[in-house]
Symmetry: C2
Subunit: 451 residues, 2 copies
Amino acid sequence: MKQAIELHKDEMLKELIEFLRIPSISALTEHKGDVRTGANWVAESLKGIGMEHVEVIETDGHPIVYGDWLHAADKPTILIYGHYDVQPADPLDLWETPPFDPVIRDDKIFARGATDDKGQVFLHIKAVELLMKEHGTLPVNVKFCIEGEEEVASPNLVPFIEQNEEKLANDAVVISDTSFIEKGLPAICTSLRGALAMELQVKTANSDLHSGTYGGGVPNSIHALVQLLDSMRHENGQVAVEGFYNGVPEVTEALREEVSKVPFDEEKVKKDLELDALYGEEGFSFNERVGIRPTLEINGITGGFQGEGLKTIVPKEASAKISCRLVGEQDPNKVYDAILQHIEKHQPTGTNVSLEKFIQANPVAIDSSDEMIQTAADAYEHVYGVRPLFPKEGGSIPIVEVFGRVLNSPVVLMGFGLPSENLHAPNEHFHLENFEKGIETIADYMVRLGK
Amino acid sequence: MKQAIELHKDEMLKELIEFLRIPSISALTEHKGDVRTGANWVAESLKGIGMEHVEVIETDGHPIVYGDWLHAADKPTILIYGHYDVQPADPLDLWETPPFDPVIRDDKIFARGATDDKGQVFLHIKAVELLMKEHGTLPVNVKFCIEGEEEVASPNLVPFIEQNEEKLANDAVVISDTSFIEKGLPAICTSLRGALAMELQVKTANSDLHSGTYGGGVPNSIHALVQLLDSMRHENGQVAVEGFYNGVPEVTEALREEVSKVPFDEEKVKKDLELDALYGEEGFSFNERVGIRPTLEINGITGGFQGEGLKTIVPKEASAKISCRLVGEQDPNKVYDAILQHIEKHQPTGTNVSLEKFIQANPVAIDSSDEMIQTAADAYEHVYGVRPLFPKEGGSIPIVEVFGRVLNSPVVLMGFGLPSENLHAPNEHFHLENFEKGIETIADYMVRLGK
């Protein structure tokens, strides 16, 4: 397999570059057509490697691509899930090369989606293709389910899974959309934080007002928004919303010890991010803060005059995008209600406030002792020479919880990204070392499952 | 004079529309050429009405237009000051008709600059023209000084005044850039608040970060900005910056009584602005809050993801535009220092903060008993049938303080705007009633001064 990968590397990278060239940004309406192009690209690719029943399935949003190969009698069936949609690319001016003009430099491929998740989906397609080429058959039954709405929280995949239990039935869901601990140290993630994303809007007067004529005498929407947002967090980093921490598991000594096993070099992180100091909830370590504690972060804020120079107005409206990461038994619906109540309780005089919910996802925990997961660990160990760790990740892949719950399968989060690969940020990239070893690991995993 | 105005009204409005068509936005670099077009328009207009020594004077920024007529021997000399530059027009989508495509409807003329200040400058040009047409001469000596940087705080007019004391020497500076109390109730403003405008910027990491991977563990620039901004104001509306109120005059019963003479209809203001409630510093009335108390307002805020939908990032930078209105002996330099110290004292962990100063202006007070002002009041009374009030305005015209101090002249703030005319906001307009009566009042004032 290693030789085959070496042999076909250049043509495979050319193909990946084609895939990465498609600006399939699911969050932005103007890219609707590009997202469909992404779906068609995946479907053609699945047909090309011998998948059957390949379909581009319409939904109320962006399409889902399905394809399978089910001729390995008495062998396990894996459902490979991934997504062909990507995050928005702004701020564009911070990209060294354009986000949709993929470039290889320093043994990395740079493009939006390189690591999240097109690059990682591509590993599975190529592993299957090379196995098929080598043996004319596959060691396991394979189903692909590649969606185009992961970056907007999979609103249409959830009902699709619920309505297609039989079609999607499997012995394990395999997903490559997570990261190593660091270069050379693989990881199989066993915990994902839940998510809740919202937009808080404050409106005051029906028009921006002259700050000379009205300043000091009327409510200011930005001041009000700032007051509301600041009231949601204590200066010690704790979330100040009543009821927010309901369902958060107690941080026991055993859990602390488990979390502390994942290496963390504070000085390196500070240096890499050019930060004087880290910051977070008092009483918790960095690993705890990003892995097993919930958060409330402001992701964007806007209001009033945005141009150069100044404009002395009292602004009529302002808004902020807020997202929470949730853990344990925290229920996104209840957290939303708690935040809404907090806002109503603290609503500043003379303002109208609203809180729109964008996405929500339950937290998820996975049993690392499952055989399907331990076999994946064997494959990593074989290829990388080191057994993966089983970290608790801070991110959210909303669909993981749904796969586990609806299809009742173990979910194997065998990621090949690196934490430093700028996912969701400018200059996203993917290491070619993990491109090659990733294909090898996935193929090796399938072979092991087939034994 | 009244008949002459009636006779020439249509052609005068046509000319004003031409003037208003020029997008002379001084704050935006891309309109530099348009600002110069505005200057040339004023210069040609002054030549056309018989002004002499007309010059478009270069500065380090936008030009100043000067012209005079000095043949009224032994009569007083007035210096007419105004500005041909305008505020930015955004948000453009809130204009019912485009800001630089003037339209007359409901006896008002709608355009950016209609009331602030092109429309009002135009009144003086036309008053002089009609007097000249009627008598072949003027009752007083007149100097025009019309600048193009008022909306960015007159950085180049200040040194120009200081270097041209003789050229600009006068018995009164006459400025029409303020408002009536309400329709039919004229005002000569006798107090202007000072101003200080700044931009506060907060930076954290060198890149936006994924809120799943880093959220909760690193400083968030928007959270930090929100925390800083909220710390600057108590919930009761008081500014919380130590030293901010130094130099603010005590609010005596006599001052309270004086301020309360200006009519104020809370229900009407709330209805007009569609506000449930007004808001401001505890313990003060609306008139006090906007007239004799200082303010600190956030005029704009921006940071993180600005697009539709969501993007779960920890943003690397955020900024806010802040402006203060100052009163009494408050010194803009000292207020800036106080805010800077406050920011440094409250600087959140892991952040870099900076505070850039844009403009500053000292507060100013004018003696309403001055003869030049009382004569202006006579002219208003003659034309409008009601004697003007002498309110303390909340706005700032930075140059007023400089005129008074350097040229040692009384400054007559004889405005013809209305507070409801949306200056600095979408759908700015000017009432045609005050267009006609304004020209008449100014001409009458000149005749009275010449007696």
